[in-house]
Subunit: 413 residues, 2 copies
């Protein structure tokens, strides 16, 4: 049984159709061809690649970070029916998908100058995500909403609106001060939103990447620095939430750290506990250890983290979850089940612990019943794979994908 709480959708070009009120229809983001590259355009904002990072089944020499076109991607990146087949081939029952062009925490909309229109577009985005994308296959997706983070009252209203649709998971910036919003130390700014999040029992998700530019790296550093060190930012995010007082003020606040791995947690919590016990002159009073506060409020997921699994009890056996990261380059596809099983076995996990990691912890944390729609015996890796025996897993170049897409289009026309 595998449920992934961090995958990525590549939004199809027609996603806003039918979701934007007439008045603003002309102002929705649209995909245009710029110098031969498909680009999302919106107000003065552009995001240079509809398929950024959608490298699954590309040959490695083509990975890079170049923008591309929908036709060059494996269709599972942007086509929900193909996505479902790819999930089944990888044994994944259900998936929670972060945005693509819109930014992991909606930074695309935050970058635009007319924020009132952005608030409208965020709702349109969510309607597409919940009512179209996720609704295609009940039981296969955990819907997650974007929020108008520039307006905490509007964000609170959006949380309520999403909850009414059954969407009780939202993505927020891991380090809002990096996108020129007040940090998580400024609790009064976030209060209307965090109130609503707690009132509706919503999980907030902090995905790595947005906050990376809090690290002033050497100008000469290669892409390795971003790819390897981005996970360090989860600790910065936890730090602001834990020591800034949010968890004291909102006992019901639940935070999932996405794609940061789990290996940072015990080191960070050991240091927090020592700090709390040792630096008493600062005057914090949590009524318990910081590590206990963290474990009451947080959960983290990983793709691969072999050493960290050995200290899973020090991290907290209840706060570890799994993710696939499809279709990004960190993803393991189509052999994620074999990979995670091998890693958990090497670390000595029991069957019960494997269940906790691969689905049960997320189910508890997100208050999500993975078997509500699909019975348990049809939800296993084996059962899902049996339905997807015909999924082609060959490596194909961008050019080959494009030729295939053109041939399909011609056949369909």
């Amino acid at each position: 049984m595998l449920v992934s709480i961090d995958d990525h959708v590549v939004e199809p070009a027609d996603m806003f159709e039918g979701h934007v009120p007439d008045k603003w229809r002309d102002q929705a983001p649209r995909v245009e061809l710029v110098d031969g590259v498909e680009v999302w355009q919106y107000q003065e904002v552009k995001n240079g690649a509809s398929g950024l990072n959608a490298v699954v089944t590309w040959p490695k020499e083509e990975w890079g970070l170049n923008p591309t076109a929908f036709a060059e991607m494996r269709p599972g990146a942007y086509d929900v029916q193909e996505r479902l087949r790819d999930m089944s081939r990888n044994g994944v029952l259900a998936s929670m998908c972060f945005p693509g062009f819109a930014g992991f925490a909606g930074s695309f909309f935050n970058s635009a100058s007319d924020k009132d229109i952005s608030t409208v577009m965020v709702s349109a985005y969510n309607d597409w995500h919940v009512d179209d994308f996720c609704a295609t296959a009940p039981g296969r997706f955990i819907p997650m909403g974007l929020l108008p983070v520039w307006d905490p009252q509007a964000a609170a209203a959006e949380v309520a609106r999403l909850a009414a649709k059954g969407c009780r998971s939202v993505t927020l910036p891991e380090l809002p001060h990096v996108m020129d919003l007040p940090s998580y130390h400024v609790l009064d700014y976030w209060a209307p939103l965090f109130d609503a999040i707690c009132d509706h029992d919503v999980v907030t998700n902090m995905h790595i990447g947005q906050g990376f530019f809090a690290i002033k790296g050497p100008p000469e550093a290669g892409i390795d620095n971003l790819m390897i060190l981005a996970t360090q930012v989860s600790a910065f995010s936890a730090q602001d939430l834990l020591w800034g007082g949010a968890f004291q003020r909102w006992p019901g606040l639940k935070v999932a750290f996405s794609e940061g791995g789990i290996g940072w947690i015990s080191f960070y919590l050991d240091r927090c506990d020592r700090h709390y016990r040792n630096q008493t002159w600062i005057g914090h009073d949590f009524g318990k250890l910081p590590s206990e506060v963290f474990r009451e409020h947080c959960l983290a997921c990983f793709v691969t983290d072999p050493t960290a699994l050995k200290v899973r009890h020090d991290i907290g056996m209840d706060i570890i979850a799994w993710e696939c990261d499809y279709p990004h380059s960190d993803s393991i596809w189509p052999d994620a089940p074999e990979s995670i099983y091998r890693e958990m076995t090497a670390a000595g996990c029991t069957d019960g612990e494997m269940d906790q990691i691969t689905w049960a912890n997320m189910a508890r944390f997100y208050d999500y019943d993975p078997f509500a729609v699909i019975p348990r015996e049809q939800a296993t890796v084996g059962a899902l794979r049996a339905q997807a025996g015909d999924v082609d897993t060959s490596i194909r170049s961008k050019a080959e994908w494009r030729a295939l897409a053109e041939a399909k289009a011609a056949a369909g026309a």
Copy 2:
């Protein structure tokens, strides 16, 4: 047996006397009283506290970060004879001391505008450190030099000069780009220095703190963010050295990460290895895994890191060392032996592993024989403590320390 590779000296006010050539004698840093606070002054640079962080045996409510006066500190901070007694009381055979006012990597001298004079002062500093401070008690200190990092040729010459005195350990900035020097990706800048370091079999030490301002934290964050997250910067430093090519170009380069703990290492190395195997399109070719490169070149030390000790074999049993951090607030004094023994026992360390961690790994890495001067039977925690039974370990306020210092001065006068 305990050897600490990260402690701190609080330089006494008369340290430059007898070490600065006549021509520049008037220009040496000096301690002056500014608004009732003792401050080091040099060119246009000031460092606001001669005793910054020298909190050992202060009551916790006085820790803070306020500048103070020599008289308010426990004398072991700045008086080498008292330091030796405090080391013995804590069972510490030998200690490697980073600077105080001069900055962990000599940033005080780098901040001054006349760098030629700074180069002179760095040599004067080193002469004091090696010939006075460390020479007071042969076998009790591992000398470590500062370098004129703004001038790699001069730094190379200083390495040779230090090596001729028997000092084969130097401190360098963990992130030089944060002090406006070229980063460790700019290998040609560092080449003369790294050549000299390898020629003389010198260990470079990267202490946390200097690079902390590479992290753009929230303006509202308290001192907790600095104190807890500064250890994250060791991974940034390792990243630049490992992926910037320094370890390939200088197979003999040895780097010790100081005060960053050891809990970051396995998480970081797991991610590096995965990146190396997975992102082959980037084209790195180390001829081995990044984790293997790291273990050939690096060592790290910790004060307390209970969970990390459980995965010591994944970190690398040969690259873990211990530190005391006296007289800073992270230090455990006078019960460091009990603390580290308890932690290693809880992690299941064997006697041989305990020896590796507490002295043998550092001895190999620094090519240092801890028993060259002091026979092994006199070097144990028990033997050292037996000599220091009269050391007063009471907690005393700044005012009490000041009264005590004044009484001593009056008695001596």
